[in-house]
């Protein structure tokens, strides 16, 4: 299958007064057409920065895309002018932000906010916009009569539905969902995820699902990438990652979550903390927390090693095994 979006050696740094924050370091990642890629990592791993990088929404002037390419349908997004980029955002690639409570405009009705995207990307009459807006609301399960209401009149789950309606209004090819259900309760989370799944099939959208919840990934994704300190440390098909994790960090993540089916009396957490992206350790970024760290891990940053079936791991342990 072809990659719809291919990120090559992307480097994003924030140059602040206190020093350089190395948020994204040499990430190479592809999203295949019609598939969902889960991007998993902890707070501060660079998940959101990567997503904003794809949309070219990195905060200026501190944030800079230092190097790399982002190929969307073989076109490098980083070489586009701001005007051309505007055509892409919302129409070809759109994004659902993390917090539904703050990402809607409180002084515009939800109908206006959905209509805004449609108006920006289509030559269409006022009537047409209205009609499309109502259609979108119905698609996400909100009665179209509520288009004239303001965000504060909606609950958290409903607001997230509105945001999904905005993101899908122009039927984008790629949807970037940044922790779409983190702020929601479990029963509402289940509702929203189920809806996103069916809409994805309906519109044949590819998706980048950013989350720290491995349960959400298992139930929704086709491929998984694990991100740590701005680097992809493991990538592969869903089953390969969940049934046969190879990187010590991935294994640690699975040991940290209480499992409902097995009765584990004690969790096996990863020791220590995520390194400060302002002073990343030399060598492998995970070496100071890793149980299997060798001398070489402190010296050199390992290369991605390709195992079978597209399963890739960035670890010296794997290099020795081959």
């Amino acid at each position: 299958m072809k990659d719809l979006l291919l990120i090559k050696d992307l480097v994003i740094h924030f140059e602040t007064d206190d020093g350089i924050v190395e948020a994204v370091n040499n990430i190479t990642l592809g999203i295949k057409e019609g598939q969902t890629l889960g991007l998993v990592g902890e707070t501060g791993a660079g998940k959101t920065t990567l997503a904003k990088g794809i949309m070219r929404l990195i905060h200026k002037p501190t944030g800079k895309i230092k190097d790399g390419e982002i190929l969307y349908k073989d076109k490098d997004l980083l070489k586009l002018t701001e005007k051309e980029m505007r055509e892409i955002r919302g129409k070809h690639i759109s994004m659902i932000f993390q917090d539904p409570m703050t990402s809607l405009n409180p002084v515009m009705t939800v109908g206006e906010q959905i209509g805004e995207v449609i108006k920006a990307h289509n030559r269409i009459s006022k009537k047409g916009i209205e009609k499309r807006t109502c259609e979108m609301l119905e698609t996400v399960g909100i009665p179209s009569g509520r288009a004239i209401e303001y965000p504060h009149q909606f609950s958290g789950g409903m607001k997230q539905r509105v945001i999904i309606a905005i993101a899908l209004a122009c039927e984008p090819n790629l949807l970037i969902a940044d922790e779409p259900t983190t702020a929601l309760d479990v029963t509402i989370q289940a509702q929203v995820l189920e809806m996103m799944k069916s809409l994805k099939t309906e519109f044949n959208t590819s998706m980048l699902l950013i989350t720290h919840d491995l349960g959400v990934v298992a139930q929704n994704c086709d491929f998984v990438a694990i991100i740590y300190a701005g680097e992809i440390v493991e990538y592969g098909e869903l089953r390969d990652i969940f049934k046969n994790p190879k990187h010590p960090y991935t294994i640690g993540l699975f040991g940290s979550i209480p499992n409902l089916n097995d009765n584990v009396k004690r969790l096996k957490p990863i020791d220590g903390l995520m390194p400060d992206p302002m002073s990343l350790p030399k060598g492998c970024k995970f070496n100071d927390r890793c149980k299997f760290a060798m001398d070489i891990c402190k010296e050199k940053n390992p290369e991605m090693v390709l195992l079978n079936n597209g399963h890739k791991v960035k670890c010296f342990l794997m290099q020795n095994n081959i």
């Binding site: 309760d185 479990v186 139930q219 979550i257 409902l260």
Partner: protein, 333 residues
């Protein structure tokens, strides 16, 4: 095995808030008992009154009616002086380690504050205070060098450890933990959960563990209560509740968990709608509006908790029907 000693008994606890829109039934007629050294998990969605219940037990919100019997005495009748003394035995760990610590106090000041307030140590007693801080910091796994740091210099996991240290410094018997790990990343969450388990074993603590994360609750708790709009809908030992959930809400809640296993195919019970308002609730079952099985009778009367099997309580008017149905299925098999 010796019989477990009952440490806390809550009877018909009620806490209403008067709002401009009407009476908000935050905690409505809740009863349960808790034995020493056990963990009671309280689960429910946001807005169902979990935190208010925890606070009402400690009288941080003054309950409207009911009894909270701690070691045989109703603490709701205590004077504020008696209550202050009792608080050495009952402590609370708060949800958000980012806002529950005073930003202008160092780690050691924060940890020692309860001791000074209770008058257990005097401010002049610098040496013994220093020793005490060291002891507690070691207990919760904070490095000595952090003694004089301020909260903003620390990450969430360490801050939550300070929260735990503050609660432990008075040697409490009962700790109410209000979502202690929900603000933390998974790898840090596991560290803190392990710590809390170790401390429970070492110090014989009793926990009331309030959370919305069902896998965490199952991991830690001996008993679980499920709350919906201020009321308990199901109460059972953890194993029983997960093996055989009976209330339609519990069933939906458990089926909504995203299990981290790609082979796991859940029979999702998707609930319609969201939590209704707890302000002036109509008579009848509060879950009826979202319930897949709701019948006319559900809108009429509000069923109390009924023991359907040993230690397993359910509040649902249709429960007899469900049990008979299940028995029928089993017989067919």
């Amino acid at each position: 095995m010796k019989t477990k000693k009952e440490i806390l008994k809550v009877n018909n606890l009620k806490k209403f808030f008067n709002t401009p829109q009407g009476m908000l039934h935050a905690v409505d007629d809740i009863s349960f008992t808790l034995s020493e050294g056990e963990t009671l998990g309280v689960v429910g969605e946001s807005g169902c009154g979990k935190s208010t219940m925890g606070r009402a037990i400690l009288r941080l919100h003054e309950p409207d009616s009911g009894e909270v019997i701690y070691k045989g005495e109703d603490i709701l009748k205590y004077s504020s002086k008696q209550m202050k003394k009792l608080r050495t035995e009952m402590q609370m760990i708060f949800q958000d380690p980012f806002s529950s610590l005073n930003p202008r106090m160092t780690v050691s000041q924060s940890i020692l504050e309860p001791l000074l307030i209770q008058g257990i140590y005097k401010k002049e007693d610098k040496r013994s205070l220093r020793i005490k801080v060291k002891e507690i910091m070691n207990l919760v796994g904070l490095a000595d060098r952090l003694v004089n740091t301020y909260p903003h210099e620390l990450d969430g996991g360490r801050r939550q450890r300070i929260g735990i240290a503050r609660a432990l410094v008075l040697n409490p018997k009962l700790i109410i933990c209000d979502e202690p790990v929900s603000a933390l990343d998974v790898s840090i969450q596991a560290q803190v959960l392990n710590l809390m388990q170790d401390l429970q074993e070492q110090l014989g603590l009793t926990y009331i563990f309030i959370t919305h994360d069902l896998s965490v609750v199952k991991h830690l708790s001996s008993d679980i209560v499920v709350m919906y709009l201020g009321q308990l809908v199901e109460k059972a030992p953890a194993e029983k509740l997960f093996a055989n959930p009976l209330h339609p809400y519990t069933k939906a809640l458990l089926s909504a968990i995203a299990v981290p296993d790609p082979d796991f195919k859940a029979d999702r019970i998707l609930l319609e709608g969201e939590l209704t308002s707890p302000i002036n609730p109509k008579p009848g079952c509060r879950f009826a509006k979202r319930c897949l099985y709701a019948k006319e009778e559900c809108y009429g009367n509000n069923a109390g908790l009924v023991e359907v099997e040993k230690d397993h309580f359910v509040a649902c008017c249709l429960i007899d029907g469900f049990i008979n149905q299940e028995k029928g299925v089993k017989q067919k098999q």
